[in-house]
């Protein structure tokens, strides 16, 4: 085990010198989690909007289910995706296990319920305010959804950031379906777990620093979005 101070010094120099391994790991992390966030928004936003502005039988059941899915443990998501993608599984023929695509799929499943539930709430509140005006204007459902999403843009961006924050920080799902393969599926969280257990604290700490900066950055963006929205009374 390295001396902690020494490890920290090494970690800093890895980060500041732009160490190739570290950069590779960080960029894969960002690619996987940003893609998953994008996919989750493409699926979750319209679904959330639809549930927000329509009343149908079983709506409450859908709300309860989605809220429950928000709490899915990442390892369980990883396990489920693993079972589908493993050679014996129904989607085994795709050969996706232990690829970045598998990791994107797992994280998309993990955060889609979050995007859907949070955006549903945001859009439903806004719709309560706009509904009569929309009906008076005889807008189609499409026009309504588009207008709601645009007018809720600041809140929805923070919803997206919340999803990204959860995706980029989780370790269970990407560990199971990615396998933490060097130069292929190794992302920040899995690398931190592995390097720590192997005793290479410098890389672990360096990645930890980057992850922390990203997490803080996401929070700062959420805060500044809120403040911008409030300043324009668009919140």
């Amino acid at each position: 085990m390295q001396d902690l101070g020494e490890a920290f010094r090494l970690a800093l120099s890895l980060v500041l010198s732009g160490d190739a391994d570290l950069v590779e790991i960080v960029s894969l992390s960002l690619r996987v989690s940003l893609t998953a966030t994008g996919a989750a928004c493409l699926i979750g936003l319209p679904l959330g909007a639809l549930v927000a502005i329509t009343r149908f039988r079983g709506r409450n059941a859908v709300l309860i289910l989605v809220n429950a899915l928000m709490g899915l443990p990442p390892v369980v998501v990883g396990l489920i995706v693993y079972l589908h993608l493993s050679r014996a599984g129904p989607l085994g023929f795709l050969g996706l296990l232990y690829t970045p695509t598998a990791m994107i799929i797992a994280q998309t499943i993990l955060i889609t319920p979050i995007i859907m539930a949070l955006s549903r709430q945001v859009l439903e509140d806004l719709h309560a305010e706009y509904a009569e005006q929309f009906r008076s204007l005889v807008l189609s459902r499409r026009q309504q959804v588009a207008a709601l999403i645009w007018d809720a843009r600041f809140s929805l961006l923070t919803v997206g950031l919340a999803g990204f924050g959860r995706a980029v920080a989780e370790v269970g799902a990407v560990m199971i379906v990615g396998g933490n393969i060097d130069h292929l599926t190794r992302v920040m969280t899995t690398a931190i777990a592995l390097e720590t257990s192997r005793g290479d604290l410098a890389l672990a700490l360096g990645l930890g620093l980057v992850l922390m900066v990203i997490a803080l950055g996401v929070n700062a963006m959420v805060q500044s979005l809120r403040m911008t929205a409030v300043r324009h009374a668009y919140a």
Binding site: E129, Y130, E132, Q133, R135, S136, L137, V138, L139, Q143, A147, W150, D151, A152, H232, A233, Y234
Partner: protein, 257 residues
């Protein structure tokens, strides 16, 4: 009155000619109109045909059912009994597109002032910045065009709602106490715009419980009380010689319960 000259042609039905086959779509008729919510009757058995022109004011104490009547006429809520028709036609999306509603609390989109008007124009397939600017000039908001609309004052927000309502050149405007919480100057400005629209041929249905406003604007008056229609007639007649006890009490400012 410079603002009016700048915008010739805005804010009115262009051709208020009654179509003889179907009747004038600015004339509301309701028969046996009733609304109950959770078993409580809130609007009871209203029967009337309104004049297709001029400004009809709907008056009555709080809770009389004025807002509900307006929403029933515009089709925002479905009646429990009876029916609403305009010029003999039952309410339809097409009819509703020929109407605009202005709410007591203006619905202001989270966009710029200009984008609020663009939104309504675009919903009708129109992209026309000069028309939008003319509308904003008409309600004295052109200088605020690029500000966030929700930062406008109450009176300005309501004028924006009016510009949006006028954007579709409605044949009918339904206004639910649009000036209820505004300062006198804003009230007068809005009344001017409404009268202008009326002169251009738009039928106005206007809810108020402000007697002064009724004296200034009304051609005829519908008086409601506890969900029932008590009187309908020419404004001067109603204001000087109300026929029912409830209306007399209301006009004298006595609490009517």
């Amino acid at each position: 009155m410079h603002m009016r000259d700048a915008v010739n042609g805005i804010g009115g039905a262009r051709a208020p000619e009654p179509d003889r086959a179907t009747g004038d779509c600015r004339a509301a008729t309701f028969r046996g109109l009733g609304l109950s919510i959770d078993g409580t009757p809130l609007v009871r058995d209203l029967n009337l045909t309104l004049d297709p022109t001029g400004i009809t004011m709907i008056m009555g104490p709080n809770g009389a059912g004025k807002s509900l009547l307006l929403k029933l006429l515009h089709g925002l809520i479905a009646p429990s009994s009876g029916e609403v028709s305009w010029g003999g036609q039952p309410l339809s999306n097409e009819l509703r597109r020929a109407q605009s509603m202005v709410f007591q609390k203006p619905v202001v989109l989270r966009r710029s002032v200009a984008a609020n008007v663009d939104f309504v124009l675009k919903a009708r397939g129109i992209r026309d910045a000069s028309r939008r600017d003319a509308l904003l000039a008409h309600v004295d908001l052109l200088e605020h065009a690029h500000q966030p609309a929700r930062l406008l004052s109450g009176g300005e927000q309501q004028r924006l709602a009016l510009a949006r309502a006028l954007a579709t050149e409605p044949k009918v405007m339904l206004m639910d106490e649009p000036t209820a919480s505004l300062d006198p100057a804003s009230v007068l400005k809005i009344e001017e715009i409404v009268q202008d629209a009326q002169r251009r041929g738009t039928k106005i249905l206007f809810v108020t419980h402000d007697l002064g406003q009724a004296e200034r604007l009304a051609d005829d008056i519908v008086f409601m009380h506890k969900g029932r229609l008590h009187e309908y007639g020419a404004a001067e007649l109603f204001l000087s010689r109300p026929e029912t006890e409830e209306a007399r009490n209301f006009l004298q400012g006595r609490i009517v319960v």
